[in-house]
């Protein structure tokens, strides 16, 4: 058994920032990550990070845009704190060594992003996540901590509503071990791979969120799933909102700049839920293009000129060329929405505290909530750093006074037994078969537009897959780098989380932000301005609700 004061699970931006804060507070910190920290999905974030640093901008304006973007489901006290921290957070990352793009006067360059009243998004070309991830990792390299590199989390050990540590295994050797800790910070990122058509990396399987749910933590607002408007057709690879921020436009098959019908004031720079629904509607009503990978519309960058496209959207040029065979300097990019971001996650307050003692969460794995029903572009990178730091501070403070964790030797056996059963079975389905079926169900039944009958049909299919999961078989018997075992673990995690998404979506009888019910097309503030809380029950998630914190901004109709 290993022991640390604070164990951070996940080593993207949120996990690393939490670790740094806990180390600076003087705690013995371990970072557990199933992939090397520099390979985290934070590095795939393209467009930028919001901070109201411009002379014409303000914390209040950023707060208002975020509240409005959330369709009034974000907690306004948390959003005010978040936007106030934005400037210092970006400056700190600059001081850590992050290489940002610069304006001619040497200040941090800013670009326009959707749902924002001002060019507020600070960027590093179109690889802002990579720049921040390098900057933070290289800063963290000067601190003392233990890195468990390529370790998979299997279990969060909780007794008496308190966390005592985790069980994990080293992919490189196959050895399982207990890591006792006074505080555990979950920063394992999203679970976008519950969908097939997603911009998310293969690693985005929500392991920490599922482990927290299994251990009895509350998950919040799981039904709110963001679909990014512009993803490549076959692969679902992201084309940054920065492409529209730099002036890119959307056209349907008739050559119409159709966003004028959906967001007459800001056109392509409306909020992501609005643009995704617009594209979906254009295609559904026959005004899109069609091809072997389904319907689509065009994202045009040609008019921006070769120099601008190649310098500010360098990665996008490469992605389009390699993954779609398109040169965006001279050709339109065929795009269609894809799952992109999970607004929901482990329910926390703005200090990162979850509902179990000693459990903390930050980043996309958590739900504070600042994004409410729809996240604005440029706010997720900011969230990882602002709330990663808060969770690290809170986890360190808790560890300072908490009694020693009471981990038992039998905790290891309890955690490992089901995994052994998969490997010992002589017959059974491969986990990847069930994963693919789950993804097909989510793509088909839990998409941009929803209604009760479709959602219930999806839930029925998902539960059938879940029941088969108990009989899967892991064929690979090797202890070293057994990806087959990881597949099984991840698939089990995602099946639980997918269920909470659907159950939450069925229950919410309104349309708000990214949750669009054709049978309840209006937002219903009287009934539904509240957060969904899901807790694991004997027959799936049990739901309860909590009020939205609001301070200064009364709900208004959301028009862009």
């Amino acid at each position: 058994m290993r022991r640390h004061d604070v164990v951070v699970v996940g080593a993207g931006l949120a996990g690393q920032r939490a670790a740094l804060a806990a180390i600076e507070a003087g705690r013995d910190v371990a970072v557990v990550s199933k992939i090397h920290p520099l390979r985290s999905h934070s590095g795939a974030a393209q467009g930028g990070i919001n901070a109201s640093l411009g002379a014409d901008d303000s914390v209040d304006k950023h707060t208002y845009d975020t509240v409005k973007g959330s369709d009034y489901l974000g907690d306004q006290d948390a959003i005010e704190f978040f936007c106030k921290e934005a400037g210092p957070t970006v400056i700190e990352m600059e001081h850590f060594g992050t290489i940002f793009s610069r304006a001619p006067d040497g200040s941090l360059a800013r670009r326009a992003f959707g749902g924002a009243g001002f060019p507020r998004t600070i960027y590093a070309a179109d690889r802002t996540g990579l720049a921040l991830l390098q900057g933070l990792w290289e800063r963290l390299g000067t601190a003392r901590f233990t890195l468990y590199d390529e370790w998979d989390l299997t279990h969060l050990v909780v007794r008496d509503e308190r966390v005592h540590g985790i069980v994990a295994f080293d992919r490189k050797t196959g050895e399982f071990d207990e890591i006792a800790a006074k505080s555990v910070v979950i920063a394992t990122g999203p679970f976008g791979r519950v969908y097939g058509r997603t911009t998310n990396a293969h690693s985005c399987t929500g392991d920490g969120v599922a482990a927290a749910y299994e251990a009895g933590a509350f998950l919040k607002d799981m039904e709110f799933v963001q679909f990014h408007p512009t993803a490549l057709l076959e692969s679902g690879i992201l084309i940054t909102e920065g492409a529209r921020g730099e002036g890119g436009i959307l056209r349907n098959a008739r050559g119409e700049r159709f966003m004028s019908r959906y967001a007459p004031n800001v056109l392509e720079l409306a909020s992501r839920d609005v643009v995704s629904r617009a594209i979906y509607t254009e295609v559904a009503e026959g005004r899109g293009f069609s091809g072997p990978y389904g319907g689509y519309v065009h994202l045009e960058l040609m008019h921006l000129g070769k120099e601008k496209v190649e310098s500010r959207l360098q990665e996008i040029v490469d992605y389009s060329r390699i993954f779609a065979g398109i040169d965006p300097v001279t050709q339109p990019i065929p795009i269609f929405p894809a799952q992109h971001y999970m607004m929901g996650g482990i329910s926390t307050n703005l200090r990162g505290e979850a509902t179990l003692r000693g459990l903390f969460a930050a980043g996309e794995a958590a739900c504070v909530s600042i994004h409410g029903a729809n996240r604005l572009g440029g706010n997720s990178l900011l969230e990882t750093l602002v709330f990663g730091k808060q969770a690290g501070i809170a986890a360190a403070a808790y560890a300072e006074t908490a009694p020693a964790p009471a981990m038992k030797e039998s905790d290891l056996d309890t955690a490992v037994a089901p995994l052994r059963a998969w490997s010992d079975r002589k017959d059974g389905e491969d986990p990847t078969v069930l994963r693919t079926e789950m993804q097909q169900v989510m793509d088909r039944y839990v998409g941009i537009y929803r209604d009760e009958a479709t959602l219930l049909e999806g839930l029925k299919h998902l539960r059938a897959i879940k029941s088969r999961f108990s009989q899967i078989r892991v064929v690979d018997q090797s202890k070293v780098y057994n990806v087959n075992l990881t597949d099984a673990l991840e698939t089990g995690h995602m099946l639980d989380l997918a269920e909470t998404i659907i159950v939450g979506a069925v229950a919410r009888h309104e349309s708000r932000g990214a949750h669009s019910r054709t049978d309840y097309p209006k937002r219903d503030d009287a009934q539904w301005m509240r957060h969904t809380l899901a807790r694991k029950g004997p027959d799936g998630p049990t739901l309860s609700y909590s009020p939205v914190a609001y301070t200064r901004w009364d709900p208004k109709e959301r028009v862009y």
Partner: protein, 324 residues
């Protein structure tokens, strides 16, 4: 995009050092569209044929750096390598783990040496205590200063360059292209106060081990051009320290020779590189060479058209050495 498929044969390296006496190649033939990536093909092999195949992968869009491997003997990212061109050139697709790193299993290698060299160049800002960060605001940095980083901020640490580098193979103490490109990134950073120390620290046994073969630049999926940045570091190191290392003295002597006569004076070059004592150590080899090539003992005459050589040098001196 979609449409016709091709019959693609893969030969995949399989080896579990804990169980197998030696590696074997597993052959699979699949019907796939020519633009299918190697990673997509591997995931199909895992999903449909053999779930026990071990590999690293994550983003599938050439940004996480997980899936570097040898595709037909070239170090590449599996996720951005399409099978069509590989089949046209080689008729089949041989997939092997990266080189210069021990195989853990199948296509997965132990990256500890790679991470070790990266950490060893101290990849973080080192500040001058007399010049702290500006409180509450960013350090100004002009777009021209950002340009000086060249493409190095795009590095995704995939280690394809480390795998391709013959100097790493010959000398495991050599930091490798990625670490040196990272060093360059910190040396040119206007916020960093340790430029000179960094250059001094990397000279002995580091910088000059590079063979200038440019295989790293060929392997890099992000066009970082590590070999060009290593060249820049060598120039900066000579400027800071003068030519004190074997490698740097050789480079400086080579340049002076050519400028002077238009030809190499090999006797002089050996003396310039190794010094008089060093020259004695190479006496045996010198005699062997002189028997076959007695002209090396005489001072070369100036070549015709030396003014042309001078013009090239003048041009190189003024544009900062970027012309080749």
């Amino acid at each position: 995009m979609a449409g016709t498929t091709v019959s693609a044969t893969f030969e995949v390296y399989r080896f579990d050092p804990k169980k197998d006496a030696s590696p074997r190649y597993q052959r699979h033939t699949l019907e796939l569209a020519p633009h299918t990536t190697v990673l997509t093909a591997l995931l199909r092999i895992r999903g449909e044929i053999d779930p026990s195949l071990a590999l690293r992968y994550s983003c599938r869009s050439s940004i996480c750096g997980s899936c570097a491997m040898q595709v037909n003997s070239k170090s590449r990212l599996a996720c951005e390598t399409q099978i069509g061109p590989e089949l046209e050139r080689h008729g089949r697709i041989v997939l092997e783990p990266m080189r210069n790193q021990a195989v853990l299993r199948d296509l997965v290698v132990d990256q500890a040496p790679f991470w070790h060299h990266y950490a060893k160049i101290e990849p973080h800002l080192i500040l001058d205590p007399r010049r702290p960060m500006p409180a509450g605001k960013e350090n100004p940095m002009s777009p021209e200063e950002v340009e000086r980083f060249k493409e190095t901020p795009r590095c995704i640490a995939c280690a394809a360059c480390f795998s391709a580098c013959p100097a790493v193979e010959a000398d495991p103490g050599f930091p490798g292209p990625m670490a040196l490109a990272k060093l360059y990134r910190y040396v040119v950073d206007p916020r960093d106060a340790a430029h000179q120390d960094r250059l001094l620290a990397i000279q002995p046994g580091g910088l000059w081990t590079c063979l200038r073969c440019h295989l790293c630049t060929e392997a890099c999926p992000k066009d970082i051009r590590p070999s060009e940045r290593i060249r820049d570091l060598k120039e900066m190191a000579i400027r800071v320290q003068g030519a004190t290392e074997l490698g740097s003295r050789h480079a400086v002597g080579f340049k002076a020779n050519l400028r002077d006569r238009g030809l190499l004076n090999e006797m002089k070059l050996v003396r310039q590189t190794s010094g008089l004592f060093g020259m004695l150590g190479q006496l045996g080899q010198g005699i062997r060479v002189a028997r076959k090539k007695p002209e090396i003992l005489s001072r070369p005459r100036r070549i015709e058209g030396l003014d042309e050589v001078e013009r090239i040098y003048a041009a190189l001196d003024t544009d900062g050495g970027d012309a080749k």
